[in-house]
């Protein structure tokens, strides 16, 4: 039986790593994202941006590639702030979109997360492991976004294509 799974080529997104206190980061994000996510491993969307809460003092802002220059100008203005460290990390992650009827099968083989909708619903996000590599997993509607360090992209893509 063949699975119905589609795997996009690896893509680059605009990506900012945000570390610090919620109060300091909320101040820096004013006008870009109105609120921080309130639940761990969840996200908020605003305009072109998706803000994900990935760790106790760690967030990630994702946006389309064309938004990078404007976001960088907006986020990086002002002096460096110990309580709100923002770093442009677009080049450190490659993203696959995994879609199709059996996309969840591929994801459940790739990573150890409980991906049942009751445990990992739409817009749930997590840092985890995929085929031994640190990865970001995001459920977007019926699709899955899998982000990882670009040097592992060919290896992870080969592992995914074995499932298909």
């Amino acid at each position: 039986m063949a699975y119905q799974i589609r795997i996009s080529p690896p893509q680059r997104h605009t990506l900012f790593d945000l570390r610090g206190t919620p109060q300091a980061l909320a101040a820096r994000l004013q006008g870009i994202v109105p609120n921080l996510p309130t639940q761990p491993c969840s996200l908020v969307r605003h305009g072109q941006g998706t803000l994900m809460w990935l760790g106790p003092l760690r967030w990630c802002l994702m946006a389309p590639p064309e938004a990078e220059a404007a976001l960088e100008a907006a986020l990086m203005q002002g002096p460096a702030d110990h309580d709100a460290a923002i770093t442009l990390i677009s080049d450190t992650q490659a993203f696959f979109r995994i879609s199709g009827r059996d996309a969840a099968v591929a994801m459940s083989i790739a990573c150890p997360l409980d991906l049942h909708p009751t445990a990992f619903g739409v817009d749930h996000v997590a840092l985890t492991d995929a085929f031994g590599v640190r990865a970001l997993v995001l459920r977007e509607g019926d699709d899955w976004i899998l982000g990882l360090e670009p040097s592992y992209a060919a290896y992870v893509e080969a592992q995914l294509r074995q499932i298909v």
Binding site: P40, C41, G55, P56, L113, A119, L127, D129
Partner: protein, 85 residues
């Protein structure tokens, strides 16, 4: 396989974690007052108890937090998980 309940991420597989060794008892207030043997014992000899032991684990592939876990070495049951030391 352990299932570790990260206070931030929820229940996650042991695959996502790195073992950080036994959680040491508090540092003696004045090491100079200890005998050499007691100091070396505290510094380098971990307890190897049968039963509940406190251990350090890092959620290295998840949220990145360092946790202290109390694990029963007889059953692998995890009795307590908390952030930090």
């Amino acid at each position: 396989m352990l299932l570790i309940h990260c206070p931030f991420c929820g229940p996650r597989s042991e695959i996502e974690f790195s073992y950080g060794g036994p959680a040491a008892p508090p540092r003696p207030d004045d090491p100079a007052q200890l005998s050499d043997a007691d100091w070396v014992d505290w510094l380098t000899v971990p307890e190897n108890r049968i039963g509940p032991v406190p251990e350090r684990w890092c959620h290295s592939k998840g949220c990145g937090a360092w946790l202290t876990i109390v694990r029963d070495t007889r059953t692998h049951e995890i009795l307590e998980v908390r952030h930090g030391a």
